[in-house]
Symmetry: C2
DNA sequence: TGCAACAAAATTGGCGCCAATAATTTCGCC
DNA sequence: GGCGAAATTATTGGCGCCAATTTTGTTGCA
C-alpha cells in the first residue's frame, strides 16, 4: 500500500524540454527565432522524435509557438499580453505574501539574506545571466514558503512566458540597483512580519523591474 | 505587413485534446481511469499518433497523468492539491471582480441574468451535466469582461484540474440551490457596481460549492 | 535591370512497424 | 486446493522513412 510513488513525469521528453526552456531563458535562443529540429537534435544529442516531443510540450506551455509546416519558434509576446502577464504575476505573487510571512522561519530568512547579498555582488561583478539566476533563486526560495505548489507553478510559468517580450528586464543599471534595494526592503518586511508591506513591495518590484515607458530598441 | 495572422494552434492534435478533455469534464472518463490508446482511436476516429499527441498535451496541462510503460489515466488530485487549487482559484477569480465591474455593460448584464435564469431552471429539471455546462457558461461570460486573457486561461485551467478530485461538486440539492442563489447575489453586486462585494461572493461561491467537511464516499 | 515562373533543396510532419514492458492466464509443484 | 513461476497475451512507446510543404536559387522574358 506504500507503493504509490512512481509518478514519473516522462523522463526523456521532459528533461529535454527543460533543457531547451533553460536555453531560451538564458537567451541562447531569442524571441522570434526559429528552432530547427535538425540543429536541436545535434546540439542536445537527442533523436528527432525526442526533439519534437519536447517542442510540443514547450508549445503547450506557451514557451514557444508552433506554426504548421513552418516549425517552432521562441514565442514573441505582444505588449498587450505582456501587460496581462505582469498583471497576473502581481495578483499571484502578492497573494503569497501572507502565507510566506506566516510560515517562513529564521533559518530561511538568513538564507534569503545571503541570496540578497549574492545579488548585490552580482549587480556589479556578475554577468547578466548570473544576475538573472540569482534573482530567480531569491524569489523562488521566498515563494516556496507560501505552502501552495499549484500557485508556485503558475508563478514560474508566467515568469517564463514573460521572457518572450521585447522588454529588457533590467534596461538600465539604475533599475538593477533598484531591484537590489527592493530585495532588502522585502527582507525588512519579512523580519517585521508585515504581509501587507511585503505584498506592496512585491507589486512595485514587478512593475518597476520592467519599465513600460521607454521601450529599448532591440537590434535585429 | 498585415499578414501575421496564422498563429494556427496545431489543428488536429489540439482538436482531439479538447474533445478528450470535454469527455473527461462530462465524466465520460472518471478520475483514475486508464485511457487506452486503442479505445480512444476507435472512439474518436483518430490515428494512434494523433491520440498519443493529444494525450501528451493533456498530460502537460495536468488533466491526465502519464505513467511510463503503463499509459495515461485521468488525473486524481489528492486533497492537499485540491485545496491548493481552490485557494488559487479564489485568488484569481476574486481578482477579476474589479475590472469586470468596471468593464461590463448593460447588455452583458442582461445576458448574464438570462444565464442565471437558465441555471435556476436547470436546478430542478436539468441533468447534472447541463447544470455544470450552464454554470460554466455563466462564469465564463462574466470573467470574459476582466480584460485579461492570460488570467482567464489560468482560471479555466484550474477549474478543469479541480475535476479530478473525489469531491462531488454539488454534493446535495441544497448546495445546488445555494449556488443558484449566489448567482443572483453576484448579479446584484454587479448592478450596484460593487467590486468588493462581488469579490467576497466569488470567494464563498468557490468554497461553498465544494464542501470540505463531510467527504462523500465514492464506491470503488 | 526587374519580375515572374519554374526547378532544386531543405525542412517539417504523418504514420506504421516492431521491440520493450506490463498484465493475465496457465501450468506445475508443494 | 492454494501458491508461485513460466508462458502467453495485451499495450505502450521509440524510431525511421518518405510524402507534403515551404524556402531558396535559377532561368527566361519583358
Amino acid at each position: 500500500m506504500t507503493e504509490r510513488k512512481r509518478k514519473n513525469t516522462n523522463t526523456r521528453r521532459a528533461l529535454l524540454a527543460n533543457e531547451i526552456a533553460q536555453a531560451i531563458r538564458l537567451r541562447a535562443f531569442r524571441p522570434g527565432e526559429w528552432l530547427r529540429q535538425i540543429d536541436l537534435e545535434e546540439r542536445f544529442q537527442a533523436t528527432r522524435f525526442d526533439v519534437r516531443s519536447a517542442l510540443d510540450e514547450l508549445a503547450v506551455r506557451k514557451t514557444i509557438e508552433h506554426v504548421p509546416n513552418r516549425g517552432y519558434r521562441v514565442a514573441e509576446v505582444d505588449m498587450k499580453t505582456y501587460e496581462e502577464i505582469l498583471a497576473a504575476r502581481i495578483i499571484l505573487e502578492k497573494a503569497t505574501a501572507e502565507s510566506v510571512v506566516a510560515r517562513i522561519d529564521d533559518a530561511a530568512i538568513a538564507r534569503l539574506d545571503a541570496l540578497a547579498a549574492q545579488f548585490s555582488a552580482a549587480v556589479t561583478t556578475g554577468s547578466r545571466t548570473e544576475q538573472s539566476e540569482i534573482n530567480r533563486a531569491f524569489h523562488q526560495f521566498m515563494y516556496s514558503f507560501c505552502g501552495n505548489a499549484v500557485l508556485e507553478e503558475m508563478i514560474w510559468g508566467l515568469r517564463d512566458r514573460g521572457r518572450g517580450s521585447q522588454i529588457t528586464v533590467w534596461s538600465s543599471h539604475e533599475l538593477l540597483q533598484k531591484s537590489d534595494r527592493e530585495h532588502y526592503e522585502m527582507m525588512a518586511a519579512l523580519k517585521a512580519r508585515d504581509p501587507g508591506r511585503l505584498a506592496a513591495l512585491i507589486a512595485t518590484h514587478i512593475i518597476k523591474g520592467a519599465p513600460v515607458g521607454p521601450a529599448p530598441i532591440e537590434p535585429g
